[in-house]
Each structure stands twice: as C-alpha cells, then as structure tokens.
Subunit: 346 residues, 2 copies
C-alpha cells in the first residue's frame, strides 16, 4: 500500500442495489474504488479467496457477508448458505476449508427460535462439509435494521496439493466444465419471496462443492487452470470476468448447459437469462484439453456430480468475450449481469 | 461437533440490544446457545481470536462485525475501527496480524464519498498497523436497513514467539497491567450521537495496540498469562470473565486506574461506571509477579504507553470475583456490565 493517493475510476454518486449484485456495477465498484485503495496498485485478477503466506505456510483466506431474504427457503437457509458459500469460495480457489469464524448482526426483537434454527443449520452444514467453527462475534442492532440477521463468515483453508488457479493461464483449446444445472438457487429465492404469482417444485442447490472439486483435482489437478462458483451474476458473469482477465473468447454450447424446466420457465416469464441467475452449489472449471475427459468422468462419478457436463471451449477470438452457440446454430454475445433483477440472493 | 443435540441453557425468548453489549447477556447467549451448538461440548474459555493448525503451522484467526453509530466520531471512524479492532483482537491473543479480509454491507443510497472516506480510513489504518488487506466482499441492502454501512473484518495472524495466553494459568500473586486511560471511546461515541446535552474535548482511543503488546512480549513474554482488549463491557467485564475462567479473585486499586476527567464527569452525570465503558485502543495484561516491573517499564517506554500502570493483583479469594479498593479504603464488588447503557459503540 502506498501513501500516494490513487486515482479512482468509480464515479457513481451513490451506492445502489446493483453495486451488490455481482455484475458490472459490482465490478466497477471493486475495481474503481476498493481495489486501488485497499489492495494496492496492481492486485491482479480478484478471486474468491486469497492465498497468502502466514507463519511459513500458504493459507487460503476468504470472507463473505450473507444478507439473503427470506432467511429460510426451500432447500436451505442463511446459516447453511454461510457455511457452504465460504467452503465453496475456498474450494474454487483450490483450497480445503479448515476453520470458519462467524459473525452475527442480529436485529433486536428476533425470536430466539429463529436464531437457534440458523445456528443449528450452520452446525449441521459445517459437519457435512468437514469444517470446524473456531469462533465468532455478535452484534445487535435496533429493530427494523438487518432483516432479522446478517451473517458474515470468514474461512481459512489449506491449498489442495497440485492445484494452481490462475485466470491468466487459460488459453485457446481449454475446455469449460460445469458441475450441474444452473439457476436453481436464484429462482428458488425469487419464488420464496412470494412477490410473484408463480409456484414451482424447486429447491436451492446450496451444498459444499468441495467433494466435486476434490474429485476433479484428483483426476485432472495439473490441468485445472481456473475455477469459480457462479453465485451472484451467474455463469455468464463468472465467465465474462474470466474472459476479461485472460483476454480469450469463451464459446459456450448453450444447449449443453443443464437448466431445470421450471427455472427455464420462470426465466422466460420474467425475461431473465438462466445464465445470469445465481447458483450456490455449482462450480465452473476450465481445464487443459488433455485433462478434460478424465476430469469430466471424475466429476460424474463423484456424489452429486451426475449432471456435470462440458459446456464450452476457449478460443483466441473474439478477445475478452463470451459467445453462446444457440440450439439453432446461431451465436450471441453473452454479457455480464447488468443491473440487479434479483437482489439479495445470498 | 457431535450429531447429538446439546441441551441449551439460553432461555430468553427474544434477542435484545443487551445480547450484543458484551456484558452478562452476551455471555449467556454465547455460552448458552452459540458455543454448545457451534464450538462443541467443551470449547474452554473463549478468547478474542482462535489459534488453529493450518497446513502445518499455527495461525491465529478472528472476525468481528462493526456497527458503530455514528460512522465518524472524534478520533476515528468505522473503517479505522474495523482495522484496529481486528489487529487488537489478534494482538491480545498473542498474535501479529498479517492479513485482513473485509466485507461490507452497504445501505442503498449511501453517498459514495461517505464510503470512500471509510475505505481511505481503512487503508490508512492498515498501513499504520503494518497489515495487508487481502480481499473482500460487498453486499448492498435496501435503504433504511444498515445505518449506512456495517463492516466485518476477518483477520489472520501468526503467533508471537514465546507468548502463550491461557486464562486458567492465572494464579494468585500475578499482577494486572493496563495500557492507559479507560472509557475514552465509549464516552466519545455517546457524545458524538448528540442525544445528550454534553460536550467534552474527548477523542476515541482507537489505535493498534500491537506495538505495546510487542514491547510487553519482548520484556516479559514468558510471564504473560492473559491479555484482553476491554472493548464492549469495559475493563470490569473483561476482568470478570477472566475471574470466572480462572476462578481467582482480582483485586483492583481503583485510584490507580487512569480515567480522563471528562470521562469521569460524564459517567457521574449519567450514572455509569468508567470500568464498564468500552475502549478501543487499550489492553489489559496479567503477568507473573517476577515480570511485572520489567513489563510495566517496557510498556511505559513504548510509544503511546506513557500512562500504562499496574492496577491490581490476583488473589485466591474471593473466588471468581473482581473487587475494587476505593480511594477511601473500602472495597466493592465490581460486576460485569448488565444491560446495555451504551449500544453500538463498535
């Protein structure tokens, strides 16, 4: 960090919901304000977790705040999401979560049973993910603030041997793998709010992806160039960030991307693209071509990976762009999420 | 963590402000609900940071949420507090902060200049404290929900060689050291809210205590039994927690405890005890008697430690109690903070 005052590119006068949605506005805020002031002059591509040296070892560190509304939804709840989301941020950075520290901002007047349910959900998710909760902190704010509760989860992990993630190592010929169907989490949250007159038999996909990442690493570790869990902003935003960071063109076979019928239906009704919808239990990986077949097979054999699929390939052109090949042979540019059609899904 | 359902001792039906105030109600919530479900059956005394093994090394980890209101106050602001508070939690656990990860929960509509001021305050505090900011996360919530912003800071550090903190190692004869005057932060925040018709020339004491902890460790490292930064709940609560954890009686010389006149005056007017008021740039240490003189001298010679003082001694009796000797020769029991006279001071 330098005492010189960096020039800031972020010019929006106020912070709006879109700045937290994980799409273009979020990226402008991070790259134009947070990164130059906090991370130094050239932090490089920003991943889901940072790998730093501490006491002679490499450790992976991450932290995320969770403000999902409602607190409980089909398939999960904020407490479970906080554990899985943090374990997953570490996993896709190439690290196994070892310990979590949780902080609570609780709204005064919250029923203890509501809090207890989330503490239990958190404990159960941590046990399933094989991670220890090592400590925490609690603040209480006045009634009317904080929507019941906000949770922040810090996570610490150790790098998975033989896995090295670097967006700039992605190159033409690499294959894009996806762990399973997209959009379940975001559409579940949208329906759970009850603001739309829609019903569907749909559940959040929240889970730890560490077992899948571990299976992929065992079969294709040296070939893994990049991984990401496509949460806010969805698959489209995650791959656009990669395309920008590596400068390549990413060509997707749209027909190959698994989307549950009710997610596709809800998106059509609402004018949304399933590739912009948030996921909580899926991840994307770019692997070197000679590792793609073995990696995909390993994913499919791992529990929860039956729907893993190869969804695209990296090309030299067009630069820094994501292209989709539609089912009818046409192509379209797939952009990052713009605005915030689905606020507060995690 | 076990799948058996632990019996919970926390019986309050709702979460109230006092549960976040750092006193008795906070302790009941942590010990009766969070610890049994999240930390396992017998987590032992809960410190400011956890020391865990990761990738073959010991690392110290902590996380705290900051919800101080107002965001800026004489002597500091929420961004600076988040850095210093986290560095200090690590320092008093016997660790040097190496990296921080910051998460922001921002209220929609916040002026960018307000956010930028806190980002700059954070960067400056991190530079002063010699700690790197390694990453972060941003969420935005609707207008009215988050008092401008809440900040959560996760911190990672490496243990300071030769320092081992264990409340249960505290024993009769040990000396209690305090780094400087108490109550400045809490009373500054109270006055900054403008709800009281009081004015005083007072500033928050927010700062990194790491230089002082380092000086103490260099002079008296093997003699340090326990350290704590007396934030929410103040000196009285921190020492009561220690008394409970070690079972001893802690005798304080109240006349020896430095309190600025305006803090004492405000406390008298408001019926508060300065020992219950939060501090952000002070710490307590219990040291073995043979190290007390050297430790105190080292503190006083270190920058910012001129007012360090010996404030008490550990006795065998009365068990698990903090006693104060008043200026007139009497004694009183000094209890933990009860209720929440000063909400949201950090």
């Amino acid at each position: 960090m330098s005492t010189a005052v960096p020039r800031l590119r972020f010019r929006d006068a106020r912070i709006e919901m879109a700045h937290g949605a994980g799409g273009k506005a979020s990226r402008r805020l991070v790259e134009g304000l947070f990164a130059p002031l906090l991370l130094g002059a050239s932090p490089g591509p920003l991943g889901d977790a940072a790998h730093v040296s501490c006491n002679g070892s490499r450790i992976a560190i991450t932290a995320d705040s969770f403000v999902v509304r409602p607190l409980r939804f089909p398939g999960g709840s904020i407490g479970e999401l906080a554990v899985n989301g943090t374990v997953n941020d570490l996993a896709v950075s190439g690290a196994k979560a070892e310990a979590l520290v949780v902080t609570w901002v609780i709204e005064a007047g919250l029923a203890t049973e509501t809090l207890e349910a989330e503490v239990r959900a958190m404990a159960a998710a941590a046990e399933r993910a094989g991670v220890m909760i090592a400590g925490g902190d609690t603040k209480v704010v006045e009634h009317g603030k904080a929507d019941g509760m906000y949770i922040t989860m810090a996570g610490f992990g150790q790098p998975i041997a033989g896995v090295s993630i670097a967006p700039r190592s992605v190159q033409p010929g690499d294959k894009v793998l996806l762990s399973g169907p997209v959009g379940d989490h975001g559409i579940t949250i949208l329906l759970a709010r009850g603001e739309l007159d829609l019903e569907a038999d749909l559940r959040s996909d929240t889970r730890s992806v560490l077992p899948l990442v571990t299976a992929l690493a065992a079969a294709a570790g040296p070939g893994i160039r990049w991984m990401r869990d496509p949460t806010r902003g969805g698959v489209a935003t995650a791959l656009n960030e990669l395309a920008r960071d590596c400068g390549a063109g990413i060509h997707l076979l749209e027909a190959a991307i698994p989307v549950h019928d009710c997610v596709r239906g809800a998106c059509e009704l609402l004018g949304l693209d399933p590739l912009h919808i948030a996921n909580e239990g899926q991840f994307l990986a770019v692997v070197a071509p000679e590792y793609a077949e073995a990696g995909l097979a390993a994913l499919r054999e791992a529990p929860g990976g039956a729907e893993a699929t190869l969804i695209g390939e990296v090309h030299g052109e067009p630069p820094a762009t994501v292209l989709g090949t539609t089912g009818y042979g046409g192509t379209r540019v797939i952009d990052m999420l713009v605005g915030d059609p689905l606020p507060r899904i995690c």
